[in-house]
């Protein structure tokens, strides 16, 4: 066996040009499969990351008008949620693990003569947990801030840079519509979001829900209004049921039909994500990869068939000198196995290194990073080796089956 391997390698060295071309086909095919399939999965992950930047498994509910189907047009009154509604939902939901409230206002934020019109959000600790944004400095808004209606804010990254500049930070005092607020925390940069309402999180100013309700009250009511409810679905497969559960609780509170989705509108990033044909995209990438592998395989196949055909006389000579059919087949098997194994491993390494390197470079958020799957690496290797070996062993077996006299006469 060692002799045969030694000879196989010597033959490969002797036919460098062909060996290198075959090698290239195998390296390219294997690397492409690993990279492209990984890329397909990377796109899915990128989309999920982009959508879940506003909160993983997020649902948002807002109040609208009673739907036309449920009431005469004259009675289509406007609806709104209040803090007791939020608490009721929090008590009763089973399919969502967190429920938070937000109140949305606009404010002129100023600091040392700089003014910025900002998206002000009254927010509570559960909503903060759902959003899941890291803090760059300071602390988040706490239940104690809400209980005491403290005038504290947490600034989005963009607001911090534009409003505070290099001088300000945690502890600085800013004015919101003229009222002083102390900066207690700074949000880490969020970057590109595939889902947003009004403004990016980087451009938002967060303050305690109760504080905003008090200082920016709704003009139509004295109740503590909650602009929207945010909730995190426990199991994303049950998103429809979770939405319906929240809608039913709120509908009961508002005295509207639980089927009126104009009265209680609910949006979910899970559904947005599910609407994208991500499985199909992954499938498409897989088909592309398989095609590349197939094309590489056909290249290897034709080169190997050619090589065996050209060497039929050599097979005759070897057999005249005492080689059995097994010897001939073993020689071609080892030659192809050596080249496909070297090429396959190099291709796998190239594909894996490419995927790894792309994951390491500083790239914008929306560049998909290929995902490496060891099973796929083995599959690609197996297919390439299989094609190569079959392409050389089959014809070698056939060539070794005829009398050596016949192959020797093929000059």
């Amino acid at each position: 066996m060692r002799d045969a391997l030694h000879e196989a390698l010597a033959t490969l060295r002797a036919a460098k040009g062909r060996a290198l071309l075959t090698l290239f086909g195998i390296v390219w095919g294997t690397a492409s499969v690993i990279f492209l399939t990984g890329w397909g999965e990377g796109v899915a992950i990128m989309m999920e990351r982009g959508f879940f930047k506003t909160g993983r498994n997020l649902g948002e509910a807002w109040a609208g008008r009673i739907g036309e189907e449920f009431t005469p047009a004259v009675d289509r009154r406007w609806l709104w949620f209040t803090t007791p509604d939020l608490e009721r939902v929090r008590e009763r939901v089973r399919l969502s693990e967190l429920v938070g409230g937000e109140f949305l206002a606009w404010t002129a934020a100023s600091y040392r003569g700089r003014v910025r019109y900002a998206d002000l959000r009254g927010i509570d600790p559960q909503a903060i947990a759902i959003r899941g944004i890291d803090l760059a400095a300071g602390r988040p808004i706490t239940q104690a801030d809400l209980d005491h209606r403290r005038r504290v804010v947490v600034l989005g990254d963009q607001v911090r840079r534009v409003l505070l500049g290099p001088q300000g930070g945690v502890g600085s005092w800013v004015r919101l519509d003229g009222r002083p607020f102390q900066v207690v925390g700074l949000l880490a940069p969020v970057g590109v979001q595939l889902s947003q309402d009004r403004m990016l999180i980087d451009e938002q100013v967060w303050a305690p829900l109760s504080t905003v309700q008090t200082h920016w009250p709704a003009w139509w009511t004295d109740e503590p209004v909650v602009s929207k409810l945010v909730f995190r679905v426990r199991d994303r497969r049950l998103v429809a049921e979770a939405k319906q559960e929240v809608r039913a609780i709120l509908a009961e509170r508002l005295g509207v039909s639980p089927h009126d989705d104009e009265a209680v509108g609910i949006f979910s990033t899970i559904e947005m994500l599910d609407r994208f044909p991500l499985d199909e995209a992954t499938g498409l990438f897989f088909v592309l990869a398989a095609t590349t592998l197939g094309v590489g395989g056909i290249g290897v196949l034709s080169m190997m068939l050619d090589a065996v055909h050209e060497r039929r006389q050599e097979i005759g000579v070897r057999m005249a000198l005492g080689a059995t059919r097994g010897d001939v087949v073993r020689l071609f098997f080892l030659e192809t196995f050596a080249i496909t194994a070297i090429g396959g491993v190099a291709g796998a390494a190239l594909g894996a290194a490419g995927a790894w390197a792309l994951g390491r470079i500083e790239a914008p958020d929306l560049i998909p990073i290929p995902v490496l799957r060891p099973g796929l690496v083995w599959l690609a290797l197996g297919v390439m080796t299989g094609i190569g070996v079959a392409a050389s062993v089959g014809p070698a077996w056939r060539a070794a089956r005829v009398d050596p006299a016949v192959t020797l006469r093929m000059e």
């Binding site: 033959t11 006389q313 000198l321």
Partner: protein, 232 residues
């Protein structure tokens, strides 16, 4: 007393089929060649010389008839058994040398030993010895393309004798060589014959045939004459 037979052929026939037509390359050949004999085979093109040599060399199986090589019936052996017989008993010298272009002279010569499963060190030693016997000790690492025609044929002879076969088969061994080189190659073959090897040599060249101790002439697949060469 005649020498023990290396080759015994009885009623050997060989047919080739091409679609519906059939070519009878050999039609009932009987031939006995003793150990250490030198036999030249002559005949016009298409007479069946090469077919006879292929059957003698176990490169092809007869369609009918019996073939005993050193007393062993080989006409019914399967492919792998024939391969082992070739490796152990027969050395081939071809008109076009049939060296493997990618291997060095030494590796070409060592090839029969690879298939005889000899250890690597022994292969290397015996290949160099065989090359030394044909006067090419210094060319062991050269590839066939770097050798002259005569040198290539000498490498082929070294390859044929490296396994110490009892039978040397040469198919027009000087067909591609000039006359001076031809003499040199024939001289080498005669030397091997003198050491006790049976040599069967197919040739077109009357000068070579007539100088052989035994000359078999073939025509239309049959042995036309079997006699001593005139100048032998």
């Amino acid at each position: 007393m005649t020498a023990p037979a290396v080759i015994e052929l009885e009623g050997i026939e060989k047919h080739y089929s091409f679609g519906r037509s059939r070519v009878d390359a050999l039609r009932g050949v009987d031939l006995r060649i003793g150990a250490g004999e030198w036999v030249a085979v002559m005949g016009p093109s298409g007479a069946g010389k090469t077919t006879l040599l292929e059957i003698l060399g176990c490169l092809s199986r007869p369609s009918a008839g019996r073939y005993r090589l050193r007393g062993r019936a080989v006409d019914a052996l399967d492919g792998d058994a024939l391969a082992r017989v070739r490796g152990a008993e027969i050395g081939f010298v071809f008109q076009s040398f049939n060296l493997l272009p990618r291997l060095s002279a030494a590796d070409n010569v060592a090839l029969p030993l690879v298939y005889a499963r000899r250890p690597r060190a022994e292969r290397a030693r015996r290949a160099r010895e065989a090359l030394a016997r044909v006067g090419l000790a210094t060319r062991a690492d050269h590839r066939p393309a770097e050798l002259s025609g005569g040198e290539r044929q000498r490498v082929a002879i070294a390859r044929a004798l490296v396994n110490q076969p009892s039978l040397l088969l040469a198919d027009e061994p000087t067909g591609n060589l000039d006359s001076a080189t031809s003499d040199e190659i024939l001289g080498l073959l005669r030397g091997l014959h003198a050491e006790g090897n049976a040599v069967v040599l197919v040739t077109h060249d009357p000068a070579i045939g007539e100088r052989a101790p035994r000359l078999v002439t073939i025509r239309d697949g049959r042995i036309e004459s079997d006699r001593a060469g005139r100048e032998a």
